[in-house]
């Protein structure tokens, strides 16, 4: 009941947007732009012949692979840069320069290096998500409160175990924030990357629908599905943020 009360305004907004869209298409008598009904029918058509699931699976696989590689590099590297001052001053300028470069700008280089197979989008996703995660992890280590490190020292935790017992758990909330940012940009990038030359994925589906007979109902279906999956991925990361062992950092 409470959830419904909270969600009601946004449901109304969505309904109004769909209604306006529908009305506009009919009022302008557009031959190309589809009505919501056409989009739903198009989606059902793709879902029933199975191609929709193949595209979704391909996109998710690429995001999963690129993001996993980025996590595997960014977290150890970020922890190291946060902990060892020399590593920070050496590497941080490089990453600060690379971070603002849009992943889209890497597309020509990705094609040059990896061709037009799966490796290119995976590389682009890696490039897009690795920097925010490195930065967040480093910031997380830098902002560990000294009192926790001192308490660990007081209780005789050897330096070799300090990382596991204090530094990592104290940084974990920031790592999760970085992962949430990272998966967000990864999802943005996969669609853009798939528009280039691949034969599968939601990005490809959108471009292909337009090129093969102006199926704008499927273009919009693809866009909406991308939005919904993005929302789900973000919701999954939010679940991580609600773990009790990291909530302290976000609460209040």
């Amino acid at each position: 009941m409470k959830f419904l009360k909270q969600a009601l305004p946004s449901i109304i907004v969505l309904a109004v947007v769909v209604a306006l869209w529908w009305y506009a298409v009919i009022a302008t008598n557009s031959a190309i732009f589809p009505t919501p009904k056409k989009v739903v029918l198009g989606t059902l058509e793709l879902a029933s012949d199975g191609t929709l699931w193949e595209h979704i699976g391909a996109s998710l696989m690429r995001v999963g692979a690129g993001f996993a590689l980025a996590v595997a590099l960014a977290i150890p590297l970020g922890l190291w840069m946060g902990w060892v001052h020399g590593a920070y001053v050496t590497l941080n300028p490089l990453f600060q320069i690379m971070r603002p470069i849009s992943p889209i700008a890497w597309i020509p280089i990705a094609i040059l290096w990896f061709g037009v197979g799966n490796a290119s989008p995976i590389f682009l996703i890696f490039i897009a998500s690795v920097f925010p995660m490195i930065v967040q992890t480093t910031v997380g280590v830098h902002t560990i409160e000294k009192r926790y490190l001192r308490a660990a020292e007081n209780f005789g935790v050897p330096r070799s175990r300090l990382f596991l017992k204090v530094v990592f758990p104290a940084t974990l909330p920031q790592i999760i924030v970085g992962m949430r940012i990272g998966i967000g940009v990864a999802w943005l990038v996969v669609v853009a990357a798939e528009m280039i030359a691949l034969r599968s994925g939601l990005g490809y589906m959108i471009m292909d629908s337009r090129n093969a007979g102006n199926r704008y109902d499927l273009v919009i279906a693809g866009m909406i599905i991308i939005g919904l999956i993005g929302l789900m991925l973000d919701g999954f990361m939010r679940l991580l943020e609600s773990m009790k062992s990291v909530r302290w950092r976000y609460a209040h």
């Binding site: 209780f155 204090v166 950092r249």
Partner: protein, 257 residues
């Protein structure tokens, strides 16, 4: 000035002519200037002083977190050269790890291979009145409960010395008083040597066996008062109030009579 040793109790902490200064840009700030005193085994010594006089610096040196420029701190006759689990520091902010439950916090300082460590942790949680909250996370606790967890975590490793730096200052007056009584109750069982830094003279009189008054910076020991009252103490008694006035006078505060 050397404080006279009392009775036959052995000396636990011996602070020998320590000096400490901090370099800040071009200004050298002398914080501690030749300070000596001793703390006996099982004694409760409170240190009061004007704010900014270097109380916390002194405590950090004694607990081993900071090295003095010269002079030494001996604990059990051995020169102190770093913090260790025989002396646990409890600060105003507290340092209960927020990513661990109360029980996990208590287990933190115990060796992994120690038998019955979980039972010991629960025993100390119960000792400070946190029974039933062992699986709660710190952000689910109130300020007073958090402080109890801090104290329990210190006690469970069976330290010989507790270093308390304004431990109850962040609590409201009522909770502070309640925690003082709790501390006395626990100390009656556990008999630790305690060093307490406080700006609250009544708290010092309530808790300590001896009160050292520090001078303004560069600080040295300006006066020492025995607190000869048996527990439980009434801070409102005329004798205690007379002591309070005398200590406040040392701190440069005179009250209208």
């Amino acid at each position: 000035m050397l404080i006279e040793r009392r009775g036959a109790t052995p000396t636990k902490i011996k602070v020998d002519n320590i000096r400490k200064s901090f370099q800040n840009d071009k200004v050298r700030l002398q914080v501690i200037e030749g300070l000596d005193f001793e703390v006996n085994e099982g004694e409760f010594v409170a240190i009061v002083g004007p704010s900014g006089c270097g109380k916390t610096t002194l405590m950090n040196i004694i607990a081993g977190f900071l090295a003095p420029d010269s002079g030494s701190v001996n604990v059990n006759g051995v020169v102190r050269n770093g913090p260790n689990r025989k002396g646990i520091m409890i600060t105003q902010q507290g340092s209960v790890f927020p990513w661990l439950t109360v029980r996990q916090n208590l287990l933190f300082g115990l060796p992994d291979d120690m038998p019955n460590r979980a039972a010991l942790a629960d025993e100390y949680a119960a000792l400070v009145g946190l029974k039933g909250f062992e699986n709660n996370y710190p952000h689910e606790l109130s300020g007073g409960m958090l402080k109890r967890a801090d104290i329990a975590r210190a006690l469970v490793v069976k330290p010989e010395i507790l270093y308390m730096d304004e431990p109850f200052s962040a609590l409201d007056a009522l909770m502070s008083l309640r925690m003082q009584n709790e501390l006395l109750r626990i100390l009656a069982i556990e008999k630790h040597t305690v060093m307490l830094i406080t700006h609250d003279v009544e708290e010092a009189i309530h808790l300590a066996d001896r009160i050292l008054v520090l001078s303004p910076r560069p600080t040295r020991i300006q006066a020492s008062f025995e607190v000869p009252f048996a527990h439980p103490r009434r801070v409102s008694s005329p004798e205690a109030q007379a002591l309070r006035v005398a200590i406040l006078k040392e701190l440069g505060v005179t009250e209208p009579v």
